[in-house]
Point group: C2
Chain length 340, copies 2
DNA sequence: AATTGGCACTCCGGGCGACAGAGTGCCAGT
DNA sequence: ACTGGCACTCTGTCGCCCGGAGTGCCAATT
């Protein structure tokens, strides 16, 4: 049995009402609040079908209906049009992001903005090193046997690591090293660097081979091995809005999941095209987030994507509004990055 | 009326039992669990006095007694001996901190370690710039009119900022600039730099004055004005341990406070001598943290202090254990920093 | 065939009273 | 100064009842 238009309309009405009121919605209330043009009895029949198909369910006999994950999914895919942002929101975004002074600042402002606009938990991934290119490598002598390696990426990220050298090294050699690594690696995508780093060592005259090898090790660790994804979180207090019903009583598992960077990266760090992705309840495969939904998207200058951002909230969330906000913020951030 | 030894002993017993069981403690249970050598009736008399003096209170008539903030205060100040760490804990600390590879890593590991050991919310402040010295300033040309300023502090902190130049600048001039700023500022405490930066501009030949002025502006912003305190948080999920009674029902205000870096800095960033500081309930003047206690201390290489760290939990907390852990972790981190 | 009104049924949530248990305050006795 | 005893108070819980909301089903209508 396929779902005719009216049944879909009923589902939409249920989702909208439930998101707003947070209470199971019954047939009578539905026809009162929406112009469905039919009687409660008819709506009940439709509801029975929707329930059979798994889009809604009853918390208990003789309660109203509540959307299931599947119901939200259908709603998001077919029933919701993207809600245009209000001018006030646009202005807020611009005002918030203007004046950011470096990458940290951009990420910081962005994550707070997102949390504030969506009134949910916001996550912003720093531009991924895997998607960056080397802009410059700097070697700063700290002591005679120690160098500070500073890598500046085209995305604005700056990583630094200490290099312990096997022995003292004269200042001129440092300059030489710096020139060499920059010639070889400058402009290269980080993901392409490993063989280049190896060749740096191979091409090195034997007397300096040792030093270069040390440097190479740290270079590799910094550039690729150590999965240097970073991210920033804001708005955890928003988890406590809404009733205890969201998140089935305890925030515990959600807070725990939010502490695991790996988990968060999985959630927002999917490199897809510029599509916004919505994961509803069970769809994100983390047990702790069974009662949460995640709306995420990629961002970056122009059409390229350098990182992800998104928000996390109860499955009972205003999807159209959230999706619109997440998209808009991502676009603004992308523009901001393009300016640099 | 002053408190004799037995009354203090009763208070200690109440605190210890309440912390453990989380339930108001009555006179009968007290004499059973502790060897007080007197009868419940006597204890009741003592309790009446303690209540009159404001150290304990009854949630309602005919319930047991619960310590007040004042009671905890007395307990911390006079009744608790520092609990020595278990060997297992010492080992955990060492194992956790060994292998840290840069400052970020140290802070990251530390905050997670603290959260795990105390089972509370942990906060670690990055070494304060105000307490650092300049180790090196690096100028990296990004484009003809843009420089990346990288400041490396002796505490391991690395800050970077983009400098927009008034016009194109030849590579040699960059080298010259770098030499100048390093000569002038290298080794100086950041807090001493403002007049030096000013003199850099003043001493500059007029044709380069403009460029130097730009650089100086950013330098000042980076080094001092922009209060570049950073900190890291972990263990928020621990707030949900214990009953709903902690934090009087809602985590909301606590989570909100934890999002405000300014508030956290006030809590853990007091530069006192190497004393551990305990703020109980109302004592930390943030309304949102009325039902929370904070144990904090400073850390740094050797005897100097470069930053603060601490934990936040319900007033009903194991003070002796927490204090011991916070102190120990701070000392280990200090040692770690001293090695660099 | 789809829709509707009617009706019996189910279940939740709140209010009420009773009751056991824990804890106290007080007093008189040692 | 301490103790045992006793009456009192308050909480938390259990069972109970009841009103309300919402459903499912069925027969009637279009």
């Amino acid at each position: 049995m396929s779902l005719d238009d009216r049944k879909l309309e009923v589902l939409r009405a249920i989702v909208e009402d439930y998101v707003e009121t947070q209470e199971p919605v019954g047939s009578k209330a539905l026809v009162e609040r929406h112009q469905l043009g039919v009687s409660p009895a008819t709506v009940r029949n439709d509801m029975a079908v929707l329930e059979e198909e798994g889009y809604i369910r009853q918390p208990h006999t003789s309660a109203g209906r509540v959307p299931t994950d599947l119901g939200y999914r259908l709603f998001v895919d077919r029933l919701s049009k993207v809600k245009p942002l209000s001018p006030a929101e646009r202005r807020a975004i611009e005002r918030f992001l203007v004046g950011a002074v470096d990458l940290d600042d951009v990420v910081h402002r962005t994550v707070r903005l997102l949390a504030q606009l969506t009134r949910q938990v916001a996550v912003v991934q720093y531009p991924s090193l895997a998607r960056s290119s080397v802009r410059h490598l700097e070697l700063v002598p700290i002591s005679t046997t120690r160098l500070m390696l500073v890598m500046i990426a085209d995305t604005g990220r700056v990583e630094q690591r200490l290099v312990e050298l096997p022995g003292p090294i004269p200042a001129d050699d440092v300059l030489d090293l710096r020139r060499k690594v920059n010639e070889k690696l400058g402009g290269q995508r980080l993901s392409d660097t490993p063989p280049l780093v190896q060749s740096l060592v191979d091409d090195c005259p034997p007397d300096r081979r040792n030093t270069m090898a040390c440097l190479a090790t740290v270079l590799l660790e910094t550039l690729v091995e150590r999965n240097e994804e970073r991210l920033m979180l804001a708005g955890t207090a928003n988890l406590t809005r809404g009733s205890v019903l969201d998140f089935q009583g305890t925030l515990r598992p959600v807070l725990e999941a939010l502490e695991e960077e790996v988990i968060l990266l999985k959630l927002i760090g999917d490199l897809e095209p510029s599509k916004t992705r919505v994961r509803i309840g069970d769809e994100n495969e983390i047990d702790n987030l069974r009662s949460a939904s995640v709306v995420s998207t990629g961002y970056g200058p122009g059409a390229t994507i350098v990182g992800g951002l998104g928000v996390l909230g109860p499955t009972r969330m205003d999807y159209p509004g959230t999706i619109a906000t997440v998209r808009a913020v991502a676009r603004y951030v992308g523009d901001l990055l393009a300016q640099n």
